[in-house]
């Protein structure tokens, strides 16, 4: 029972982060039909910029301000990528965006080691003396709860953005038909720009929430980017609620997997990633629209 609850706790907090990364991916996809392959790298840069500002020998900048600056840098990168893909957006069917986003991911990954060493670093949490939640024993740590609650609020925000705001409507319209959207008075340029900005900010925050739970490492972008992508596709990449469900499912699956594999063979439990991909491929085969893809769209 204890293990089960722990699996849920870890699964939920990791899954909430995957969901946030997935939301960042769907924000851009929903507006542009582009997959931003540099999403994880943006996250990593935001984490390391804030970490360096907060923890250095010269002058420590308070965590909230370091976060804000990290978000700012992430948004800057997001806008750079947006500028890179802009020419290809106007010609539907062009695949130039793959080059732009993969190129950006590669460049960031290539440059990062010049700034930051490649080892695991502890990332500061707003709850430095984490003694768990009173009454729950050591089941949930405070930072896990913080991650889950913050991620959940952000998800609500994105869902509200999609369904209730002018920008949300514009995003959907631009994705379906830029020209028709322009006839409605919607600026495709501005809408796409906003999608990249919000996506980068969301991804940076996902990084601030996940780093205290694990470690910060300049390779973390790849791992989280892939898992965010998997979560987005699992849930149905066009919908906010799908991405959230996909993220949480993936988190719990991943947390439960070692326990299950351990029953089979302790060695197997060390390599969970192939099983994540196996799940991913199975879902793609049987539900290419994502597990919640159409169901959620019809419910809207």
């Amino acid at each position: 029972m204890k293990t089960f609850l722990q699996v849920i706790a870890i699964g939920l907090s990791q899954g909430a982060v995957y969901a946030l990364v997935a939301l960042g991916i769907t924000l851009i996809f929903r507006t542009t039909r582009i997959l931003n392959f540099a999403q994880g790298q943006i996250l990593m840069v935001a984490v390391f910029v804030s970490l360096t500002l907060n923890q250095n020998a010269l002058k420590s900048i308070p965590l909230p301000i370091a976060w804000l600056i990290g978000i700012g840098v992430a948004v800057g990168l997001g806008v750079l990528i947006e500028l890179g893909v802009r020419p290809t957006l106007k010609h539907s069917g062009s695949l130039g965006w793959i080059l732009a986003t993969v190129g950006m991911a590669t460049i960031i990954q290539f440059i990062a080691p010049y700034f930051w060493p490649a080892d695991d670093r502890l990332y500061p949490s707003p709850f430095p003396n984490d003694r768990g939640i009173p009454g729950l024993g050591s089941l949930f740590s405070q930072r896990q709860i913080f991650t889950i609650v913050a991620a959940f609020l952000l998800m609500l925000g994105v869902d509200w953005l999609y369904n209730k705001t002018k920008l949300g409507r514009a995003m959907k319209a631009v994705a379906i038909d830029r020209d028709a959207a322009a006839l409605m008075g919607i600026s495709a340029k501005a809408t796409v720009r906003w999608a990249f900005i919000l996506s980068a900010a969301l991804t940076a925050i996902a990084g601030f929430l996940v780093a205290p739970l694990t470690f910060a490492n300049i390779a973390m972008g790849f791992d989280l980017g892939v898992k965010g992508f998997v979560a987005a596709v699992l849930g149905g990449i066009d919908s906010a609620r799908g991405a959230i469900a996909g993220g949480i499912m993936l988190g719990i699956f991943e947390a439960a997997l070692p326990q299950v594999l351990d029953l089979v063979s302790p060695n197997l439990a060390k390599y969970p990633l192939p099983f994540v991909f196996a799940l991913f491929i199975l879902v793609l085969v049987f539900r290419p629209q994502g597990i919640f893809g159409t169901a959620i769209r019809e419910a809207r």
């Binding site: 409507r169 959907k172 379906i176 038909d177 322009a182 006839l183 409605m184 008075g185 495709a188």
Partner: protein
């Protein structure tokens, strides 16, 4: 505003609220670079009444005072209206449009006045849709444009499509361009996009008005627009255009794909809209109704305006009869 039972023709002589055009001067007064000589804007006051009875006038390039301005001076002279208030809401000057090297429009000039219905008729490939698209600025990548377009006192020929739309122009395109994955209702709400923040409650009420006007759409309100029939999509495209509460409506072959009953209904709606004070530029290939409801009309052939006059004049013109009315 206008009593719909009254004859419609003098509608455009209603004085225009000068406040409506706070911007710089449009091509009203011929400043040399702005106004090419062959198509001066209404320049009414001093001229005597035109000698000829109102009749269609072939547009000879370079001929002075071609009939773009005929009606306005007539009324201006009669009623003594201040000519500066007779400024057209839309002026197209020497419009040339190229698709690559191919020239689809070769110097098209015309005016549309507040509250008018103006029809452009012409055969397949004449350049009607190109004219409409160039005015609303949509599909900007496909074409290059020379000449000038003025709307409400602003030059719009180089303006982005979404900005033109925000000036109060709605274009119901030939290919309808409904958002296929969105519901009928979401399509209508997108039509009201430019007013989304300010007028939420009124938009809700207007969606219901649209459903009264187009009962078919009410039945299908939650259906994805892509699943509607061609005629229903046409209705939706028109309704969506109206949702922006435009002052100026461009309709490209709105009767296309509509059943005959609906065609009549659609033209009635156009008439109502004009009676409400909206200005409408309508393009049709088969032209009877389009000419009947038009205050003024133009014939476009191979990218050039060849005939123009009042709707009535064009209906009676033998050339028009032969080529477009199947007589």
């Amino acid at each position: 505003m206008t009593d719909p039972t009254q004859p419609r023709s003098p509608r455009h002589t209603q004085p225009i609220d000068p406040q409506a055009y706070p911007q710089q001067q449009p091509p009203q007064q011929p400043q040399a670079p702005v106004m090419p000589p062959q198509a001066p804007a209404p320049q009414p006051a001093p001229q005597p009444m035109p000698q000829q009875a109102p009749q269609m006038t072939p547009l000879v390039p370079g001929a002075p005072g071609v009939s773009v301005s005929q009606e306005a001076p007539l009324f201006g002279g009669l009623v003594g209206v201040d000519p500066t208030r007779e400024r057209p809401i839309l002026s197209v000057r020497d419009l040339e449009v190229f698709y690559g090297a191919a020239r689809a429009l070769r110097g098209v000039s015309f005016d549309v006045y507040q509250g008018e219905i103006v029809s452009i008729i012409g055969g397949n490939g004449a350049g009607k849709s190109t004219t409409m698209r160039t005015i609303s600025g949509v599909y900007e990548l496909l074409k290059s444009v020379k000449g000038q377009i003025w709307f409400k006192g602003q030059r719009i020929d180089q303006m982005a499509c979404h900005k033109i739309a925000r000036l109060g122009m709605a274009h119901v395109p030939e290919d309808r361009r409904v958002f296929p994955q969105s519901s009928v209702e979401d399509n209508l709400l997108l039509g009201a996009y430019r007013r989304f923040k300010k007028e939420r409650r009124r938009i809700r009420a207007e969606v219901d008005d649209v459903y009264d006007r187009f009962p078919v759409l009410a039945e299908r309100r939650h259906r994805a627009a892509g699943l509607l029939s061609g005629g229903e999509q046409q209705m939706l495209a028109i309704a969506r255009g109206l949702m922006s509460n435009p002052d100026f409506l461009l309709m490209d072959e709105p009767s296309l794909g509509l059943a005959p009953i609906l065609v009549r209904e659609m033209f009635e709606i156009v008439n109502d809209l004009a009676a409400e004070g909206k200005t409408i530029l309508i393009v049709e290939q088969m032209a009877v109704q389009a000419l009947e409801i038009a205050d003024r009309a133009y014939v476009l052939e191979s990218g050039v305006i060849t005939i123009e006059g009042t709707g009535q004049e064009l209906v009676e013109d033998p050339r028009v009869k032969e080529a477009y009315l199947g007589a």
